[in-house]
Symmetry: C2
Subunit: 206 residues, 2 copies
Amino acid sequence: MARRTKEDALKTRETILDAAIDLFASKGVSSTTLANIASQAGVTRGAVYWHFSNKEELVESLRDMVLEPFKTKQAALDDPDLDDPMGLLFDTQLLFFKNLQKNKKLIKILKIFLIKYENSGDLEQVFVEKASCHLHKIEKLEAFLKKAIDKKQLPETFDTRMGAIAIISFIDGLIHNYILFPDTLSCKTEIPKLLRGLFNMLRTGL
Amino acid sequence: MARRTKEDALKTRETILDAAIDLFASKGVSSTTLANIASQAGVTRGAVYWHFSNKEELVESLRDMVLEPFKTKQAALDDPDLDDPMGLLFDTQLLFFKNLQKNKKLIKILKIFLIKYENSGDLEQVFVEKASCHLHKIEKLEAFLKKAIDKKQLPETFDTRMGAIAIISFIDGLIHNYILFPDTLSCKTEIPKLLRGLFNMLRTGL
DNA sequence: GCATACATACATTCATGTATGTATAAATCT
DNA sequence: AGATTTATACATACATGAATGTATGTATGC
């Protein structure tokens, strides 16, 4: 049998992607072969090579699946004049975790890139940099914090460099924790509390 | 030429380990071959196989190089009666970063296990669990925080579960940040400030 | 003389990539 | 509308290289 309909083809493509997600998240990217993915998806390597030119392209497809949602959110953060920068930052971060909570597949993909994929060369951690809404680049976050200072939401003497590092580190750690133990952190209670703790720390402590 | 003296053998063993560290840290574990390591070390695969039975054993040797220093420190934290738990916790974490600062090789090895190694199976993150002085196990950290409550260093109403998560996440994030950009964080100024901020957050905020 | 500390050579597996086959959906022609 | 053609969506088969593991050689310190 061959040449299914156009919709059938899209379906197998997604089946292959799902198989890849599961295997990558459990065995790691480099130790899962395209044959593994094919058999898990119930197809042959021929199908995999038809939809993706190689494993790297498969990985990049997964990467896009996580990054795309943030592209839209990023625009709001780049807005030059905001009346409540810190509030927006808080909401954005909370929204990130809410999305994770209701999308189990997203968690798996994040897991792949955070602990199941060996990034190489200078591009290392490129993904993680963008993971929490593209603010992961320290410079961008610093610029954003300066807006908060302008709006009197942070003290004049605030050290933006250290503030940026504190935010990135804390969020990063929370993401790692969430990925390993999703059940220990609820977006209704724990996450907001922790984020509020972080933001209080920024306002009061140095 | 063959059969060098006993000290020579130990020297080549360390040369091989150093080569492995460099290659693993730059290319990732799975994409560096034993032939790569051998040539980088100036020996043949025969030498590598003489000292290590395979790549996995090499990786575990590196793991031991990082974990061993913590074994000793852990004993102090397990002490049932301490008069200054939070102080000890602070000092231990700071010492961790100080060790990183003066041991460039340690940073590389940490980098390998944090972002250049795809952990598989249920043992995933075993290393990371132990990275910050074995306190990474939430239960252990919770028990430790209870000691701090007993000593009135934390409020009676303190949520130890969330406190543990906050500490682990923040430290984890700082470690990741330090590994990627060691120069942005000094153990003399930034790290103590950030740790103090964390500890203040625990005392005051929720 | 024997175990050591390697180097060299060989055999095997295994994942990849590509080439080819093929049935059928879809487009084109009449 | 039916017949023919063509591109599609795979399955199958094959060829290749690369990494591994092991076996063997060998010089030398002990």
